[in-house]
Assembly symmetry: C2
């Protein structure tokens, strides 16, 4: 789980509720593949039950801004608002401390 040897780095905490899940999984998987190709990307973790929580980790805020403006990602964001999401919240967070157990 330990992704990097430096702190701070950044997280995008994306929490969402779906109004309609038809076609969502396919585009979500495509976006995950695309995110992994972006400069500054570190890792991503997702789980969905009543709420979906997706946390992606990035080296800096500039990488997050570039990903937000990525053309295919913009199209997916638009579709998400029109079609899939009942609601979502995006939080940009600076990771200040981290520890693990294995």
């Amino acid at each position: 789980m330990r992704a990097v040897d430096f702190i701070p780095y950044y997280a995008v905490i994306f929490t969402s509720k779906l109004a309609d899940s038809n076609g969502y999984a396919k585009i979500a998987a495509e976006m995950e593949i695309l995110a992994k190709q972006q400069e500054g990307f570190i890792s991503i973790e997702s789980a969905r039950q009543e709420v979906g929580i997706n946390v992606s980790y990035w080296k800096d805020v500039e990488s997050i801004q570039r990903w937000k403006q990525n053309f295919d990602h913009l199209k997916a964001q638009q579709l998400g608002k029109e079609k899939w999401y009942e609601s979502y919240t995006v939080r940009i967070a600076k990771i200040e401390r981290e520890y693990s157990f294995k």
Copy 2:
């Protein structure tokens, strides 16, 4: 989903994989009730599929430290390491920016 009217505030991003889930849900639910009673607590969101992601939001790092040292929470943390968790990572993060769609 918007929990507070001020930024920055803090998140504890707790990601975990379970080795044994026997008895876990009960204690996890108890810990969530207890967390909600703590000073500085804002909100909490959880989902588990392959990985469990639990994000709790707090007014400041002091509140997070106090919750980490809470007696019943310490007992649950110990049980978690002995019994339930295959691995986990705790990240303390400062929320610098937030926006929502509804």
